[in-house]
């Protein structure tokens, strides 16, 4: 460390649009001195030693710039602005120097950043998909091939905060699990935090998925088609204005009958658009539009089941540079969600959410010290309605208001030590008119108003200690609140999500995270990590699977506590012809109530993922993905017996079969394992690129069990299984121009 030094400062902007580039790596080549640009594009390097250097500006998707700089005396202050030009060719999946800077300047425990180039090269089944990629990360597990829901470190999917351009998305999944609602080409970057997340994020217990829409580029587009869906996009820029629209629609209803001799009247579509307007060099306004819809209607098959859900999201974002180094950002947005499930005329479930939110943040980004202050106000309307005529009809309706203030400080007082501290204070107010009805006639008997008021202080601390230039320890602790819960069986085997806010006697859910971590950064930017963690849930709401529908508001959840612990391990290879990673998670997850303690349905003890992509050259690329996951618990049947009784009608002794159930979740399915492989070849033409892709899912056709049932028509009964995806080939074509 030197006390003497010169200063280099300046800004980095897009050459074509003039927009500030955040996160651009700026460093002196051949030294350990470097930083990244703040969200306003500014950077500052202090205390630089005397000498002549190459100053490098490096950013994914842009051409790298090198400038010769001479630092001659302690008073010298160099102003070096850079205008980066978009790279016409694909960049490597991982940009080395940005990883180095991230490693040195941030507490990176439980944090994964994936840019769009990396997403495009990841091998996953049938379609590139964000959630399928996240499932391969350490600490994340899944319950079946037919859902993309993420179970993070012993937490259920409702404990994950999913943000698109800072607005909450309530159901980012499609039925069937092949695909999430995000289209890879509409995503600029993803930050996935599997625990100990900073105070900027609130109202969830387990994890954060922060998705940023892509920044519109000069005129271009693509059209991609596979066995399941067709997807396309167009984008462009004109002066200060830019825009992109991406859309996708499936045709399961046409393809599945070919393979399975079964009509499947289901489709979904996704539309994701973004527009940006650079009002002045320091003021930018962005708008995002997002609409997804799933529809399943089996009425034509004489099966009286229908289900559908829809996400709608609109945001407007203002980014205002206040002058180095201050930046102000503000968002206003509406996120709407509607889900519906119908079984004949007997049962109808409806969930509707309208979330209107206003968020603001003020950032002062320095080289060693960064302050961030922010606020959030969210007014939400929830409706959850069940009609189960003639037995019960109930309606849980509320308009909770959630408001928060937070303050965060990241400081690196020593080259070997870095910490980040933050506090968040939230107030939750909810008023719920509880309509009381006669359980037989459905007549309204009265309305009872249930009110909740909660003040929720949250504290998050994290620190990093560097053992060497390439090795560091991370430590992160924090407490978390969540004011809504999902009405979902633990196995997650209903196709959609139904949300309600905590109300009446139900308290806000709480969690405490303690995470330790050891991290090693390789010279090429590859990373190895091991992170033991412990999560305590002082109060947890689990959907009551034995719900008495006549008193739904009184017993819809089973309150309890929980704990989850384990360790995550990952090692990746980020450069060279072969790229990929190996991740392993050891996990334990328990739910505890006054009367019960059991492993949760998603308590996977071991989860191993091995992914690799090999670049054969000449635009040939092959990939493979192997998953091994130990069996998950289930509540099964151990045996049955004859229950004898006297039949007064027929005047004889009779019996009926009664089952003997095992303790809750005391049995386990067999281990899950699967190998997927794929290959792609691209041809480059003057007008663009044509890529053909082929994948084989479950290459050795392993029968992964999803559930068991007993065939009682046999004597004795036979246990049979419903298996997940068998061997499944897929081909796709993409045209990019």
């Amino acid at each position: 460390m030197t006390l003497w030094g010169a200063t280099i400062t300046g800004s980095v902007v897009d050459k074509e649009t003039g927009e500030a580039i955040a996160g651009c790596s700026v460093y002196l080549e051949g030294t350990e001195f470097g930083t990244s640009t703040a969200s306003n594009g500014y950077y500052r390097l202090d205390r630089m030693p005397r000498g002549n250097y190459n100053l490098v500006f490096s950013m994914i998707s842009y051409k790298e710039i090198k400038r010769r700089v001479a630092l001659e005396n302690e008073a010298s202050v160099l102003y070096e602005n850079a205008r980066l030009e978009r790279a016409p060719i694909q960049m490597p999946a991982v940009e080395v120097s940005s990883r180095r800077i991230e490693f040195e300047q941030e507490v990176t425990a439980s944090s994964f950043r994936i840019d769009k180039e990396a997403l495009k090269h990841i091998p996953v089944m049938v379609e590139r998909d964000l959630f399928r990629t996240l499932m391969t990360l350490p600490g994340v597990t899944f319950v079946s091939d037919f859902t993309s829901a993420l179970y993070v470190r012993g937490g259920s999917p409702d404990q994950n905060l999913v943000l698109l351009d800072n607005m909450v998305l309530y159901n980012p999944f499609h039925f069937g699990g092949f695909l999430s609602t995000f289209m890879i080409d509409a995503v600029e970057s993803v930050e996935f935090l599997t625990g100990g997340f900073p105070v900027r994020y609130g109202n969830r217990l387990s994890a954060v998925l922060d998705v940023e829409s892509v920044d519109p580029e000069p005129l271009g587009g693509y059209l991609s088609t596979s066995l399941l869906a067709t997807e396309g996009a167009v984008w462009g820029r004109l002066g200060k204005f830019g825009g992109i629209v991406t859309a996708r629609r499936t045709y399961f209803d046409k393809v599945i009958p070919i393979f399975l001799d079964f009509d499947f009247p289901y489709y979904f579509y996704d539309i994701h658009g973004k527009g940006s307007w650079r009002v002045t060099p320091k003021t930018r306004i962005e708008g995002t539009f997002f609409n997804t819809k799933d529809k399943l209607d089996l009425a034509d098959q004489n099966i009286p089941i229908g289900a559908g859900w829809e996400n709608r999201l609109i945001t407007l974002r203002l980014i205002q540079e206040l002058g180095d180094p201050w930046v102000f950002k503000s968002w206003i947005g509406w996120s709407g969600y509607m889900a519906h499930m119908q079984f004949s005329d007997i049962l109808s479930d409806t969930n509707r959410i309208d979330d209107l939110s206003l968020r603001s943040m003020l950032v002062r980004a320095g080289e060693t010290s960064t302050f961030e202050a922010g606020s959030e106000v969210s007014y939400t309307r929830f409706i959850y309605k069940t009609d189960a005529e003639p037995f019960a009809t109930y309606n849980i309706e509320g308009r909770p208001l959630y408001s928060s203030l937070y303050l965060s400080w990241r400081y690196k007082p020593l080259p070997v030590f870095l910490f980040q501290a933050g506090g968040r204070l939230s107030f939750y107010y909810g008023s719920y008119p509880d309509t009381l009805r006669d359980s037989l006639t459905g007549d309204v008997l009265g309305v009872d108003t249930l009110i909740r008021r909660d003040l929720q202080p949250e504290l998050r601390l994290s620190a990093k200690y560097f053992l060497t230039a390439d090795d560091a320890f991370n430590l992160s602790v924090g407490n978390f609140y969540q004011n809504l819960a999902m009405i979902m069986p633990q196995g997650g085997r209903i196709p959609t999500n139904f949300w309600i806010p905590v109300f009446g006697k139900y308290e806000p859910q709480q969690a405490i995270h303690i995470i330790a971590g050891y991290e090693h950064l390789f010279a090429d930017g590859s990373r190895a990590r091991i992170e033991p963690y412990y999560k305590h849930y002082p109060y947890l709401l689990v959907f009551n699977e034995e719900l008495d529908i006549a008193d739904a508001t009184g017993n819809i959840f089973s309150p309890g506590a929980g704990r989850a612990w384990g360790a995550d391990f990952s090692i990746e290879k980020a450069s060279g012809n072969l790229t990929g990673w190996v991740s392993y998670s050891l996990a334990f997850s328990r739910f505890i109530s006054d009367t019960l303690e059991f492993y949760t349905n998603f308590d996977r003890r071991h989860n191993l993922n091995v992914l690799g992509t090999y670049d054969l050259g000449k635009n040939w690329r092959v990939n493979a993905h192997f998953t091994f996951a130990s069996g998950m618990p289930y509540a099964g049947t151990l045996g049955r017996y004859r229950m004898w009784y006297w039949d007064p009608v027929r005047q004889e002794w009779r019996y009926q079969w009664m089952t003997i159930e095992a303790d809750r979740n005391s049995l386990r399915f067999p281990a899950y394992h699967r190998l997927d492989i794929g290959a792609s070849k691209a041809w480059e033409f003057r007008w663009g690129t044509l890529t053909v892709r082929a994948d084989i899912i479950n290459l050795y056709n392993h029968k992964n069990v999803m559930l068991y049932y007993y065939d009682l028509s046999n004597e004795p009964p036979v246990q049979r299984s419903v298996n997940m995806i068998p061997l499944f080939p897929s081909v796709g074509v993409e045209v990019r121009f």
Partner: protein, 257 residues
């Protein structure tokens, strides 16, 4: 790198300690010792008593065994009033003819061939007798439901509730395989019940004989059948089955419009 490998190996060793809950299923004896008390007068006359001793049927191991052979079944009253000397019938039940009273606590003991012993105890209900309508009465339902006929009977001791059935008096082979819900009883804690309410869910066929049957059910049998609020509950030490009693009486009525 060596440290990482060491940590990885430690993790794998730790991972071997998987803590699933192994559930060892043991077959449990399932015993129904229902003392059926049938008498048209207030005297302790009892039909043949049947005690069924089964072994649970294990689905996973397909044991496929029921009707435990060689069990020693004993029932005795605390006052020495009754002793059940078990013998097996051709249907593999234990049967005897017995006299009970409604003031003695009776004990059941079943010594199983594998030396487990299952015990239980219960009081027996009093005999029941329907006082109205009389046997072979004609019931006109044209006045129903405004002027319902009322079925009445005597109050029975050691009884949790009464169950009522109104069954077409035809050859029972005609409805032997009908599902049970077609004959779901009406329940009451009182000693009377409206005839119309019992039959309100079933279609009427006029100018036919019906059997009107009332059962006095002991608390143990109510719990066993799951008619109470707690679902099916056993009063035997094994956790399965039941020891208790029912008393029943019936009259035959002719229904006209």
């Amino acid at each position: 790198m060596k440290r990482l490998l060491l940590l990885g190996l430690t993790l794998l060793l730790f991972a071997r300690c998987e803590s699933s809950e192994d559930y060892i299923f043991e077959s449990q004896p399932n015993i129904l010792a229902l003392m059926r008390i049938k008498g048209i007068e207030h005297s302790y006359q009892y039909p043949e008593q049947v005690i069924t001793v089964d072994q649970s049927y294990d689905i996973k191991d397909t044991v496929n065994q029921y009707g435990v052979r060689g069990a020693q079944v004993t029932v005795w009253g605390e006052d020495g009033s009754f002793f059940f000397f078990s013998w097996r019938s051709p249907e593999e039940d234990y049967r005897t003819k017995a006299n009970f009273n409604d003031t003695t606590l009776y004990h059941l003991e079943v010594i199983l061939p594998w030396e487990d012993t299952v015990t239980g105890e219960a009081y027996m209900p009093s005999p029941i007798q329907i006082s109205a309508p009389a046997d072979s009465d004609t019931v006109s339902i044209s006045a129903e439901p405004y002027d319902p006929h009322v079925i009445t009977w005597n109050s029975c001791k050691n009884t949790e509730l009464y169950a009522l059935y109104c069954i077409p008096d035809v050859d029972d082979s005609l409805y032997k395989n009908y599902p049970n819900f077609l004959f779901f009883p009406s329940f009451t804690n009182d000693t009377s019940y409206a005839f119309f309410l019992q039959r309100m869910l079933a279609p009427w066929i006029y100018d036919e004989y019906y059997v009107l049957r009332v059962i006095a059910v002991s608390p143990e049998y109510v719990d066993y059948m799951g008619w109470g609020p707690s679902g099916s509950v056993s009063n035997l030490s094994a956790g399965y089955g039941m020891f208790g009693g029912i008393a029943e009486d019936s009259v035959r009525v002719y229904i006209v419009e």
